[in-house]
């Protein structure tokens, strides 16, 4: 039953499904290694998702929508930073506040779009599946390649950008001073401060970067993957990203592996749902599978690495 064609389809779907997770995960990883646990990532994704859709539907320009989504999520990130970094509130609690606010903001924006009858965006306004220009003769040939075509060339441009961002992040942590500073913020912020690093400013930067990535990931869901918006569209994907960053032991490569594993379970469950015999079970039986896999994967692997020592702790420790 599992023939070669099916395997490629599932793998291509997995790449499409895991792109937003990898993108948001990249940002979350940077924030967490700088010592900030950003539970508000779900709300930031949702904000990016609805804003990108609203702006794209209103202006007909997908690029404007993407930028707006990223900026809106960064505004949420700024509020989070004020609470968690400046006011030294509990990071988890501050993140929950962001999530609550995002549900309200996205709902209000969506309902006012409905009131103005802007609930659909033109298919040409969003982004297309193939990221190569159509004008090129080569494009058709490349996208029709047997395995490489669906896996690489029939994906959205943001998938490619995500790969680039991942490489930059990896190099940053491995090879640059900035990477060392960020790790110091997460492992020993007092030492970083003693060495003259502005801890709060760096953490602000990390949070804004994480928020921007989450916003782009949210925009991917609405203006690229579906060309539509539904209330609470992110449906817990941001929370999955948190789990996957931990599953990946705060390392870029492992995190990507976790996201791909989740993407594969996601596309396998979609395939299972489409099988003729699946009508016997409620569709939730399949939808829940990736989340169960995420929990089981965490249970199998989370003992092995403690994570950044100062993760989730406000700085400075005493007032």
């Amino acid at each position: 039953m599992i023939n070669e064609w099916l395997a490629v389809t599932i793998a291509a779907q997995a790449v499409t499904a895991s792109t937003p997770l990898i993108l948001a995960g990249c940002g979350e990883l940077v924030a967490e290694r700088a010592g900030v646990l950003n539970i508000g990532i779900e709300g930031m994704m949702l904000t990016g998702c609805v804003t990108a859709f609203a702006v794209t539907a209103a202006t007909g320009n997908g690029w404007l929508g993407l930028m707006a989504g990223i900026l809106a999520a960064m505004a949420m990130g700024a509020l989070f930073a004020v609470m968690a970094i400046n006011a030294r509130a509990d990071q988890i609690v501050a993140g929950m506040a962001i999530n609550l606010l995002a549900i309200g903001v996205s709902g209000a924006l969506w309902r006012s779009l409905q009131a103005h009858d802007v609930t659909e965006m033109s298919q040409t306004a969003g982004f297309e599946r193939s990221w190569l220009p159509h004008a090129w003769q080569l494009t058709a040939w490349l996208t029709d390649l047997p395995v490489v075509g669906p896996l690489i060339f029939q994906q959205y441009g943001l998938s490619l950008a995500t790969v680039g961002l991942l490489m930059l992040t990896w190099v940053m942590f491995r090879r640059t001073r900035l990477g060392v500073v960020l790790d110091a913020l997460g492992q020993a912020p007092d030492a970083a401060a003693a060495a003259g690093e502005p801890v709060r400013a760096w953490r602000w930067g990390a949070v804004l970067f994480a928020a921007g990535c989450a916003g782009a990931a949210g925009a991917y869901l609405s203006i690229m993957r579906t060309h539509a918006f539904v209330p609470e569209m992110t449906g817990g994907k941001g929370f999955v990203v948190l789990a996957l960053v931990m599953f990946g032991r705060w390392r870029v490569g492992w995190m990507v592996g976790g996201c791909l594993l989740f993407g594969i379970t996601e596309s396998v469950q979609q395939h299972l749902q489409s099988l003729p015999g699946s009508r016997a079970w409620p569709y939730q039986t399949f939808q829940v599978l990736p989340y169960v896999v995420a929990i089981v994967a965490l249970a199998c692997l989370s003992r092995s690495a403690p994570g950044p020592a100062a993760l989730g702790k406000p700085w400075p420790a005493e007032r």
């Binding site: 539970i39 006011a87 988890i92 549900i103 709902g107 209000a108 999955v240 079970w281 409620p282 939730q284």
Partner: protein, 341 residues
């Protein structure tokens, strides 16, 4: 002077945060062309326009109060239980199972609430076991279990608990005889409201007057110190986690037995909002009561605004988020100013 300030600081911070949120929302609406006076008076008729509206406001506050208490119990002991949402849903679906499978009687809602509490505690126990045995942080496991719980409810109301009389994804109705007695005719304000208030006072007494409550407080403030003081930290944290899961589960069961009488795939849950209520109540069992009433009046007021002035009711949720953000910032500022003086 200092003592009065200390006594009033927490309530002032909470009230101030609520007012800031309201003012911000009113400014936002004024910019969109709605006069603040109109908005306030319209919202007020939705909250307190008649005795019946007041009763509905109290009815809506009951699940918020219970979930807020559940969060208060856990957070005070340093147990970050973000899984109230899932524990609430498990309690609700268990109650539906119990109530719809037995013939109606006076005792049934109470049995269902007990079963719901057990289910909520059990769902939380999975997360605790994952943390103890496998090192998965409670924050992550509870958050993922919330998503799983939503799907479990979906599976059950379309599978074993599905109402055969309808194609919609919803459970059968709870029999009339198994419903909680109503306090105010015409509203859904049921006997459970008294139970919820009792829980608030009970938790307050537990925290203020018992050894366990004191030990929870110490663990929440400094787990290392608690361990050196000989407090059985692991066991106390377990009771706090299971206790908060049980309260959340009972809240779900109570809502089914007293207000909604069935469960569908898009049934609201009060778990996440409950955390916000607890924060606005400054993690004080009695402070949670006005915080829950404030949130339920935001709900009712914003729905009235949607009906009368065509303003999306989601501004109620925006106000809730802003209130929590404001209370976090104001709380930090008030502590800092005390430290300087």
């Amino acid at each position: 002077m200092t003592s009065i300030w200390q006594f009033l600081r927490e309530p002032l911070v909470a009230v101030g945060a609520g007012l800031i949120a309201l003012v911000l929302v009113l400014i936002g609406l004024a910019v969109s062309g709605f006069a603040p006076a109109d908005v306030l008076s319209t919202a007020w008729t939705g909250v307190a326009g008649s005795p019946l509206r007041l009763a509905i406001c109290a009815q809506e506050a009951v699940p918020l109060l219970l979930c807020g208490l559940a969060a208060t119990l856990a957070f005070r002991a340093g147990v970050i239980n973000i899984g109230l949402e899932g524990q609430y849903l498990l309690g609700a679906v268990t109650a539906v199972g119990v109530l719809t499978s037995h013939t109606g009687s006076m005792a049934m809602p109470w049995i269902a609430m007990l079963a719901g509490a057990c289910a909520g505690a059990g769902w939380c126990a999975i997360a605790v076991a994952l943390e103890r045995r496998r090192g998965v942080p409670l924050v992550l496991s509870t958050i993922l279990l919330n998503v799983v719980a939503v799907h479990v409810v979906g599976m059950l109301v379309q599978g074993p608990l599905h109402d055969p009389l309808t194609a919609a994804p919803q459970s059968a109705l709870v029999p009339d005889a198994s419903r909680l007695p109503v306090l105010v005719a015409g509203s859904g304000l049921h006997v459970g409201a008294i139970v919820a208030l009792g829980c608030a006072v009970g938790l307050w007494l537990l925290q203020r007057r018992t050894t366990v409550g004191f030990e929870w407080e110490v663990i929440g403030l400094n787990p290392t110190a608690a361990r050196f003081a000989g407090i059985p930290v692991v066991r106390r944290e377990l009771t706090a986690a299971l206790g908060s899961g049980a309260i959340a589960g009972m809240a779900g069961a109570m809502q089914v037995a007293g207000v909604s009488f069935f469960l569908s795939t898009d049934a609201p849950s009060y778990g996440y909002v409950g955390i916000a209520v607890a924060l606005l109540g400054r993690l004080h069992p009695l402070g949670v009561i006005p915080a829950a009433l404030f949130f339920s009046s935001l709900d009712l007021g914003s729905r009235q605004l949607e009906r009368r002035l065509n303003i999306p009711h989601d501004i109620g949720n925006i106000a809730k988020g802003l209130a929590v953000a404001a209370v976090l910032i104001a709380g930090a500022l008030s502590v800092r100013s005390r430290g300087r003086s």
